[in-house]
């Protein structure tokens, strides 16, 4: 049964991806300007232009152009970036790790801080601390990552200049890295100087992306915990003399985690979408920043590749969340 459900999910994912490809393709054909004339160097002969046009199938109808594009894409050939004159897949591959490290750091921050605040809030229910927690999470939720990123720039870049305003790593320490996963590599190679430099650069973008998600987790998990704490089995455990902290952690948390997990997954895709503008603000060299650059330069092949990369990430997260929710909910797994 579960195999069929997974298969169905994968089919829907594939259909969605094809839909995204069609939409991007259609959008970019509307853009004024000939992609080939932007791709070639000024001295190219008409024969060269015709050859390039034929190579990317741009001489045929719109439908045949799409078929050619899909055929190349399936082979991993997403064309050559117009502005950077390099293979699109290689470019995306170089920049993707930076975005993945940033998104993972923000998610980890949100889960730890949001989870801790929810547990504290559940223990402090009906005390003075509860309205304070609710107000702060409400404020964090009301304003999005873009504004928090700018507020952090003002706070920790100017008023109290503690953190670097832009970039991912200090160029003077970056030279030793051999993989694009700087954070993981520096930790594995015990290069703590590099690791802390990375963390200093990551701090503001991570906070900007992670704070709203932390507030979502805190609010939803706290609500679920409070609901669980009112149940009979918790009352029974309390009568047995279990401490408040153990009640929350051992009894309530187990039942409250399912709904929180599902919502966190959805919100995580919003967080990934937020990396686009947050990376731009902090000049962080990930795929989001690259995407804005590509749009400004009208670099069609690169835009196409980057939008697809984002869509693949979104769809993978959604599948992963569905599977995790099923794992945490035995009722759903058997259904």
């Amino acid at each position: 049964m579960i195999a069929i459900a997974v298969l169905r999910r994968l089919l829907v994912a594939a259909a969605t991806l094809i839909g995204v490809a069609i939409v991007v393709f259609a959008l970019l054909r509307v853009v004024p300007g000939d992609p080939v004339s932007m791709m070639i160097s000024p001295g190219a002969s008409p024969a060269d232009i015709a050859a390039l046009r034929a190579h990317y199938g741009l001489d045929g109808s719109l439908l045949s152009q799409f078929v050619v594009w899909v055929r190349y894409a399936l082979r991993g050939d997403f064309g050559v970036s117009i502005s950077l004159k390099r293979d699109v897949l290689a470019l995306v591959g170089e920049r993707l790790p930076a975005t993945l490290e940033l998104a993972t750091a923000a998610l980890a921050f949100a889960v730890i801080v949001g989870g801790a605040v929810a547990i504290l809030g559940a223990m402090a229910r009906r005390t003075w601390a509860e309205p304070v927690i609710d107000t702060v999470t409400g404020l964090l939720l009301a304003v999005p990552d873009f504004v928090w990123a700018l507020a952090l720039v003002l706070a920790f870049g100017v008023v109290w200049p503690l953190l670097p305003l832009t970039g991912r790593i200090d160029p003077s320490v970056a030279s030793g890295m051999t993989t694009p996963f700087y954070l993981v590599e520096s930790l594995l190679r015990l290069r703590f100087d590099v690791f802390f430099d990375l963390l200093r650069h990551l701090a503001m973008p991570t906070l900007a992306l992670g704070l709203p998600l932390a507030a979502v987790i805190a609010r939803v998990l706290k609500g679920a915990l409070n609901e669980a704490m009112a149940q009979d089995y918790v009352l029974l455990a309390r009568l047995k003399g279990m401490s408040e902290l153990r009640l929350v952690l051992q009894e309530a948390l187990r039942n409250a985690i399912g709904p929180t997990l599902a919502l966190t997954g959805v919100q995580f895709t919003f967080l990934i979408g937020g990396t686009v503008i947050v990376e731009r603000i902090f000049a962080y060299p990930g795929i989001g920043n690259m995407a804005i650059e590509a749009v400004i330069n009208r670099d069609l092949p690169l835009i196409q590749g980057l939008v697809l990369a984002f869509a693949v990430i979104f769809i993978l997260i959604n599948i992963a969340v569905d599977l995790m929710v099923a794992l945490f909910n035995p009722k759903l797994a058997h259904a």
Binding site: L141, L150, V159, G274, I277, A291, L306, A311
Partner: protein, 299 residues
């Protein structure tokens, strides 16, 4: 962002119900505070030429980069200081509210209109219409919204019209999902079953029976969407894709201020505070509307 779900509205009522709802609205501090701020901002935008102390485009190069009143070197008459071209920051903020509010109201209404229409169709007819619309929503949700809006504006060309179109094209899904679910729930309700039994045509049932019961949930969403629209406009101005650079916008001012942030921080801080307060107000208004109009939440 959490979706509103007012699931159990009873049949539409007369003036008594309307009066009760209005009283519930005014009793909600989030509605009065958030709504009051927005109302004040609308007045500021409408009467900008009379309120603004200076012409927002006038350059006084002798007064370039003077700080706000209260800091050393401040110039009387320039309450929030002047930018690097000697233009009055307060006047530019006041005029910037015009673009922000136009985009907020028009884009949110358009998105709500498209999403509601498609949501009603999907929720009422189900079957292949629902399948098609829901797949479309799935595809839309697989795009990063900020990237899609930048892409759309690049395709459509910079300008307020493009910004509004981009927001409507992207965010109709928020309305569609809620209205679809609400319509499905309402379609099972007794009053709809009765209306069907009488033989009302579907268009009558949708517009006269179901839509009025979806409106409370919609109102809250529209307010939240206005806050989102203000942000998206600011993001697009920040990236340099919104309106022409001689029209003051908050996002454009933030981007300009970002360049000289270490020397003239107030050029960055002032529009950021305006943006923050406006988004917070729309959000609180939406949250308050949801609480006040949803009988399930109000209990």
């Amino acid at each position: 962002m959490m979706e509103a779900s007012a699931s159990s509205f009873v049949a539409p009522g007369g003036p008594a119900l309307r009066a009760r709802r209005l009283a519930a609205l005014l009793a909600e501090p989030k509605v009065t505070l958030g709504g009051g701020f927005i109302l004040a901002l609308i007045l500021v935008a409408l009467f900008a030429p009379w309120i603004a102390p200076k012409n927002p485009l006038d350059q006084e190069l002798m007064l370039a980069s003077v700080p706000p009143v209260g800091f050393t070197g401040a110039e009387p008459g320039y309450l929030l200081g002047a930018d690097d071209l000697g233009r009055d920051v307060l006047s530019r903020l006041i005029y910037g509210s015009r673009i922000a509010l136009i985009v907020a109201f028009v884009a949110a209404s358009l998105a709500a209109f498209i999403g509601t229409a498609l949501g009603l169709i999907a929720g009422w007819y189900r079957g292949w219409a629902d399948g098609l619309i829901s797949r479309l929503v799935d595809i839309w949700m697989a795009f990063p919204p900020v990237l899609l809006s930048i892409l759309l504006v690049a395709v459509l060309g910079a300008g307020v019209g493009s910004v509004i179109a981009a927001i409507a094209i992207i965010d109709w899904t928020r309305f569609c999902r809620v209205v679809r679910a609400e319509t499905m729930a309402q379609a099972e309700a007794d009053y709809v079953v009765a209306a069907r039994a009488i033989g009302f045509p579907p268009i009558h049932i949708l517009m006269r029976e179901i839509l009025p019961n979806v409106v409370p949930a919609l109102l809250a969403l529209v307010s939240l969407e206005m806050g989102i629209a203000v942000i998206v406009e600011a993001i697009l101005s920040f990236v340099g894709l919104s309106v022409a650079s001689d029209t003051p916008t908050w996002g454009g001012m933030i981007a300009e201020g970002r360049q000289f942030i270490h020397q003239t921080w107030w050029l960055f801080a002032a529009p950021l505070v305006a943006l923050f307060a406006t988004v917070l107000a729309f959000n609180q208004l939406g949250d308050g509307l949801r609480r006040a109009l949803d009988p399930v939440l109000r209990r």
